[in-house]
């Protein structure tokens, strides 16, 4: 393919038209031609992380029951706190965590008893206890966490990154959003491309399924044999080649010819990538049993094969949203994913992938340290759960460029709001982009007359958690 036709294809493909990107892409054509919208390309500076796995505890896990112990709650159990912040619903007295916390690793980071396997890895983890968001509702908070904007249509983090970096493996979708059993709240908006080309949208995979045909659309043709399909593609190539020869070089024609070759390879590669039975017994044992184990192991196989961004959600709807029975439910939810998350961190490390894989754990917000008061139709009159809490919550990061064994920031004595070294979701995004090699203020896309950023006009890179 000659340079001219590629150049023309980039124009024709519409990727980045009207954007600052187009000018630079063309200007830099000698340095890096983009054959396809997914071809890999370097970011602004040398990245620490090359790929991301976001373990999304959708619904909002309670920080005071997982990674932010608050002994003051036990001391004040059942008493009104000196202050109570507005959240989605009314909450009452201090509600101590039903779980024990212990210190782990050389760092002595405290972790709740419900995450014992994760606790074994704290020296690789930076726990951020001072996260905060804007409002105590799922919908806007999910969009804020995923797309950097609470209401308006903006591209998700994964879309930004695949747009900016392309993929290392064009035989697989570059950005995969897993959620077993169906969509989370706010549905496909969580992985939307917004104003970026649709191809940068996350590919949804329902990891409830085991068969590759159900995991990836149109990955196999049940009525045409592999041999017959190979013959079809051979004939197609001959016809297309003759068509091309008659017309002279044309990047769009060439790219489409190539897309069939790619698709053919994808059939094999995707089937293989999603098939965890190809993992050694020891690895499968390490991840454990159940849906979470399976999807997290699939995610690792995908990352290993060059997928750029994998989001693994816990389940359909909002499983971590425990307005009641939090003791029982949080224990159950943690039991489902704890071993697999611990295994993922160890496994990535063993394989030498942890150094350049950014692992993110967290929900769209945390939960109140106070007990949720009964409300008709809302929590069945049980007074044993916690409401949403955007004032302060915990997320943790590990791997690619993260300083392990760190605890960053803190909430107040009771865990109600972030007070020290507060880190907004925009700051998290700025830091993520930094680790992936982007200056978040310079990584923009021109749309509707404006240069848009993931972080809008906000965001600070938090250097204290960087290695």
């Amino acid at each position: 393919m000659n340079i001219l036709s590629r150049r023309e294809m980039i124009r024709r493909s519409g990727i980045g038209f009207g954007t600052a990107a187009l000018g630079s892409l063309l200007a830099d054509s000698a340095a890096g031609e983009r054959k396809s919208p997914m071809a890999p390309q370097p970011p602004h500076f040398t990245p620490k992380a090359k790929r991301v796995i976001h373990l999304f505890m959708n619904g909002g896990p309670s920080h005071v029951d997982t990674f932010d112990p608050k002994p003051a709650l036990a001391k004040n159990a059942g008493k009104e706190l000196p202050f109570n912040l507005p959240t989605e619903r009314k909450t009452g007295a201090a509600f101590p965590s039903p779980y024990r916390f212990n210190k782990f690793g050389e760092s002595g980071t405290e972790v709740s008893e419900i995450f014992p396997h994760v606790a074994q890895c704290v020296d690789d983890i930076a726990v951020i206890r001072s996260m905060h968001a804007d409002v105590p509702n799922h919908e806007p908070s999910l969009l804020l966490m995923n797309c950097g904007a609470a209401r308006l249509i903006r591209p998700s983090v994964g879309s930004w990154l695949t747009y900016g970096l392309g993929t290392e493996n064009e035989n697989l979708p570059a950005f995969i959003a897993m959620c077993p059993g169906g969509y989370p709240i706010q549905e496909s908006q969580n992985w939307q491309a917004g104003f970026l080309p649709g191809i940068y949208q996350g590919t949804y995979v329902d990891t409830k399924h085991r068969e590759v045909e159900k995991l990836i659309e149109h990955i196999r043709n049940p009525s045409t044999s592999a041999n017959a399909q190979q013959r079809q593609l051979n004939l197609l190539r001959e016809l297309n080649q003759a068509h091309l020869n008659e017309r002279g070089a044309d990047a769009a024609l060439e790219a489409r010819i190539e897309s069939f070759e790619l698709a053919f390879r994808m059939q094999g590669e995707a089937s293989e990538a999603f098939d965890i039975s190809r993992e050694p017994e020891s690895i499968r044992k390490m991840y454990g049993r159940g849906t979470q184990a399976r999807q997290i192991l699939i995610a690792r196989r995908l990352l290993q094969r060059g997928v750029r961004y994998v989001q693994v959600r816990h389940g359909q709807g909002q499983p971590w949203d425990n307005h009641d029975d939090i003791e029982k439910n949080h224990r159950k939810l943690a039991r489902q994913c704890n071993q697999a998350i611990g295994a993922l961190l160890k496994d990535l490390k063993q394989q030498g992938m942890l150094d350049d894989t950014l692992v993110i754990w967290g929900g769209e917000f945390g939960r109140t340290p106070t007990v949720e008061l009964p409300k008709e139709g809302a929590n069945q009159g049980k007074i044993n759960g916690r409401d949403h809490n955007h004032h302060g919550f915990t997320m943790w990061l590990a791997g690619g460029g993260i300083k392990g064994g760190t605890v960053y920031g803190s909430t107040d004595d009771f865990g109600f709001q972030a007070v020290e070294k507060r880190m907004h979701v925009h700051d998290l995004h700025a830091t993520m982009l930094h680790l992936l090699g982007f200056d978040h203020e310079q990584f923009t896309y021109r749309y509707a007359g404006r240069d848009f950023r993931l972080t809008d006009v906000h965001g600070r890179v938090i250097h204290d958690i960087l290695a």
Binding site: F83, E139, Q192, H218
Partner: protein, 694 residues
């Protein structure tokens, strides 16, 4: 900006001025003030402590930086060295013996903490705004700059007719070709030769109806010796109902059309009558309704349409947008955006939070239009669930400072955009002003509207737009190389009563449109992007044309009903044209995304065109392609290579193709003939010849 490029100065300017920040203060800190402090001042303190409230109580003004820096009658209110000692903080914490502010109720701890943090940060705030006199002069400056930008930018000027007089062979040619010839001659390029009849027939069929010609009509055309056969074919296609269907889909991209509201919690998200809007668009195009009226009705059919009310569904253009969890400000923003970008190529929604950075659109103008929509309501039900009507209790809109709903500024009258108004702009007089707005947008005198429409049509027919940013004609759009051509078409379009079919006739009648897609190395080197139109652009069928073609060829397309309810076309059994697809804004089928269908989230200026393996996978493996290729092969009519070529590509195979196909059939002899024929049919459906338009 993509990696690898240098930071643009313009971007930095945008970010800095977007926040109204002076250089001494860190932006994030000022953001903190704007987000956490100023709204509290406005809501809880201004009533007593602002200059505008008359005599500020205790001599303390909190509506200006110097106010809190100087303090009040009791002395300074801030102690930056000992924040906890600040009178302001003590008063709002109710920790001061004398002052407990605000008196009605103590502020939340969170707010108090914000104040503490703010004082600890050194009480950052934006530079003081000028006093009244200076403010006025700033506003005047703004008006002057609007006026001067309005004067200088090409798109705000009325179009002018400037067809060069040519001698010799160009004298009598089509005006489009003469205008194109200017640019070509300057670049020392010649136009390409006329495309073959086969190519032109196929091109016209797809461009005008979105469907392929069949073999018989192709043969008929090729054998005809009528000199007017080209024009007759154009006319025939313009009169077919599929013309309206095809172009309706293009307009639905502009209108960000979908059948649902997007995510609205657990409420019913369907717009059950959305299809009535689509039907109205199809019908308007088919009957060649004046585009002026077409646009006006979509904004104010309740006041402009016929008495029977059959034009009311036109207002689906406004009402069928995303509902943003029912947030009224966002719904109105979406409407302002679809109207201004979709019809006028102006990015007015950029002015929601601050004056437009590049175009002469002050924030006040945004809220003037906001007022129009804020005073329009959706009564739903009969006579049309899609309509809007003016509210009875009219109210002026406030400017929302920085777009923040809790931060109200001055009231602004409902009126049209300053840059497109005469010097003595007057507020709208009737009701919401929506009718007046509609008449001002779709007006012969509006320098943008007709141009924007003409440019869209040109783009669809020619494969590239004259103005490359079809929904942004603002000052950051490039002045089109072919401005005289755009202006010529615009003026003549208006003279022809904004007739869409006239415009299509005019463009397709030019030699420029009828050129072939030749590959001329020298020309490619001189003008690689074909900005000068020295040849036709090769185009790829969009999703709708591709799916409809496959259906038609495999005898699976139902053309009996024009219009009607939406259909789940992802079902294999669906026989409806793709434009009738049920579009769930929230969960657009991945098939649509993979094939670059316009995402109905917001107005789409032009579709992206990507080439990815998922497209190939669909064509290789999907139930859809299997169903239709097998269906075709199972018919007795298509048992030969020749028959398949005629049916799928509307031509006979050449000897080499015949030979390749025969060999393919022989190789597959171990399976059923029908299966092998289906496989061959599928290959032809997958071919570049099928999917690309020369």
């Amino acid at each position: 900006m993509r990696p690898g490029s240098t930071p643009s100065v313009a971007l930095l300017v945008c970010v800095v001025s977007a926040c109204g920040v002076n250089s001494r203060v860190v932006r994030a800190d000022v953001d903190f003030f704007e987000k956490h402090i100023r709204p509290v001042f406005v809501e809880h303190c201004y009533e007593c402590h602002s200059d505008k409230a008359g005599e500020p109580k205790a001599g303390l003004s909190l509506d200006r930086r110097s106010g809190w820096e100087q303090g009040g009658d009791s002395g300074p209110v801030l102690d930056l060295d000992n924040p906890e000692e600040s009178l302001l903080l003590k008063a709002i914490s109710y920790n001061d013996d004398f002052y407990q502010m605000p008196p009605e109720e103590k502020l939340s701890n969170e707010i108090v903490d914000h104040f503490r943090e703010w004082i600890e940060m050194g009480a950052p705030a934006p530079e003081e705004e000028e006093d009244d006199d200076e403010e006025k002069s700033a506003a005047e400056n703004r008006e002057e700059s609007v006026a001067s930008l309005g004067k200088s930018h090409w798109a705000f000027q009325p179009p002018s007719l400037d067809i060069p007089a040519f001698e010799g062979e160009l004298l009598h040619t089509h005006p489009i070709d003469r205008l194109i010839a200017v640019g070509l001659q300057e670049a020392d390029l010649a136009p390409s030769q006329r495309a073959t009849d086969e190519t032109l027939v196929r091109r016209l069929h797809f461009d005008l109806t979105g469907l392929p010609p069949d073999y018989e009509s192709m043969q008929q055309y090729l054998s005809s010796e009528d000199e007017r056969k080209y024009e007759q074919l154009v006319e025939q296609l313009l009169q077919s109902p599929q013309f309206g269907e095809r172009w309706a889909r293009h307009w639905l991209d502009v209108a960000r059309f979908a059948d649902t509201k997007g995510y609205v919690f657990t409420q019913d998200r369907n717009y059950p009558d959305a299809h009535k809007y689509r039907d109205w668009v199809i019908d308007s195009f088919n009957r060649d309704r004046s585009i002026k009226e077409f646009l006006q009705f979509q904004l104010a059919a309740d006041q402009l349409g016929n008495e029977q009310g059959s034009d009311l569904p036109a207002m689906g253009f406004l009402t069928l947008g995303r509902r943003f969890l029912n947030n009224q400000n966002d719904i109105i923003d979406d409407r302002i955006d679809v109207v201004t970008r979709g019809m006028m190529g102006l990015t007015v929604s950029c002015a929601r939070c601050h004056d437009h950075k590049y175009d002469p659109i002050p924030t006040a103008d945004y809220y003037s239009l906001y007022g129009v929509f804020d005073n329009s309501s959706e009564p739903g039900g009969d006579p049309s669930p899609l309509r809007m009507v003016d509210r009875k209790d009219l109210r002026d809109a406030h400017i929302l400072l920085r777009g923040n709903a809790s931060n109200r500024g001055e009231k602004v009258p409902r009126q049209f955009l300053q840059v497109l108004s005469p010097d003595d702009r007057r507020p709208f007089q009737e009701g919401s002003g929506r009718r007046e707005m509609a008449l001002a947008i779709a007006a012969d005198e509006n320098p943008l509207t007709a141009r924007v429409f003409v440019n869209r049509v040109w783009g669809h027919l020619m494969g590239s737009h004259l103005v490359e940013t079809p929904s942004d004609f603002g000052t950051r759009s490039n002045r089109p190389t072919q401005l005289p051509l755009l202006d010529y078409l615009t003026i003549r379009f208006i003279e022809n009563d904004w007739s869409f079919k006239w415009l299509v006739r005019e463009i397709t009648g030019s030699s420029t449109y009828q050129q072939s897609v030749t590959h001329r190395t020298a020309a490619i080197e001189r003008d690689p992007e074909n900005r000068l139109y020295w040849r036709m652009n090769r185009r790829r069928l969009d999703f709708e044309a591709m799916r409809d073609s496959i259906l038609k060829i495999c005898n699976g397309l139902d053309l009996s009903e024009i219009g009607g309810p939406s259909d789940k076309i992802t079902r294999v059994e669906s026989r409806r044209r793709s434009l009738y697809a049920h579009l769930d804004r929230q969960n657009l089928p991945s098939l649509f995304r993979v094939f670059d269908v316009a995402l109905p989230d917001t107005h789409v200026p032009k579709r992206f065109q990507t080439t990815v393996p998922q497209q190939a996978l669909f064509l290789m493996n999907s139930p859809f392609i299997r169903h239709h290729s097998q269906g075709l092969a199972s018919s007795r009519e298509y048992e030969t290579v020749e028959a398949l070529y005629r049916q799928i590509l509307a031509r006979d195979p050449n000897p080499q193709e015949q030979e390749l196909a025969e060999a393919f059939l022989t190789d597959g002899a171990h399976q059923s003939k029908e299966q092998t024929l289906a496989e061959l049919a599928q290959v032809l459906l997958l071919s570049n010849e099928f999917i690309f338009l020369d």
